[in-house]
Amino acid sequence: MVIADLVRLLDAQVLCGQDRLDTPVVSACCSDLMSDVLAFVSEKTVLLTGLTNMHAVRTAEILDLKCLIFARGKVPGDDILARADELGLVVLCSRHTMFTSAGLLYAGGLRGAALPEDEGAPRAG
């Protein structure tokens, strides 16, 4: 699956990264809590969130994520989109709620990111 498939499934608006829609994605994560995202997400994960401040982009930067989807028609500020573009992120806006957006992506074949191993267990590579 590539980001263009997510655009189609959600009928999403592409806010930045139109030229990077062929980037592969393997899983998704849905949260407004960035610490949860930082706990278990890997780079080919899509982050679906309602959090439109700089920390969504910052979290994507820290984890090398390639795609952010803002749910319920939320559009972040221009400074945030400019930073996302600078980092090579694709940013999408879904008019659906987070729940419905996640459901549409799941029905389209995208699956959730793996949960973290128990404390002390080996880390995912």
């Binding site: 809590l33 960035m34 930067e61 590579g125």
Partner: protein
Amino acid sequence: MSAPAFTRGFDIESQDYERAGEASASIKQALRQLGIGADILRRVSVVAYEAEMNLVIHSLGGQLSIRVDPEGIVLTAEDRGPGISDIESAMRAGFSTADDRARDMGFGAGMGLPNMRRNADEFLIESRPGVGTRLEARFHLG
């Protein structure tokens, strides 16, 4: 692998949510330029970001610093207080004393310290109420 000795420090202001994360992004960029591998780069970056957010959310201000030598990477966060009275509780996933502002920013879910410990190869934290907190995360290279 070996990396040249490298140190860098960043002053982190209390409650400065606008700039929060910039130091961690700089650290990530510097480590990438040093040729640090992707897995360790991500783990150090996650710990740096969580530590930086903790300094912003909970401390009176402090410093985030990084040292890289051929043996490994040491990330240190040291603040000027107020200190943690119950470290055992603070290390428990889900425990948080963060306010609504931190939660509005996507933090304060009580995952910061557990995330840091999980991602580091060695993790030390010491705190004195009224004095401050120092945490050190070590990552082995090679």
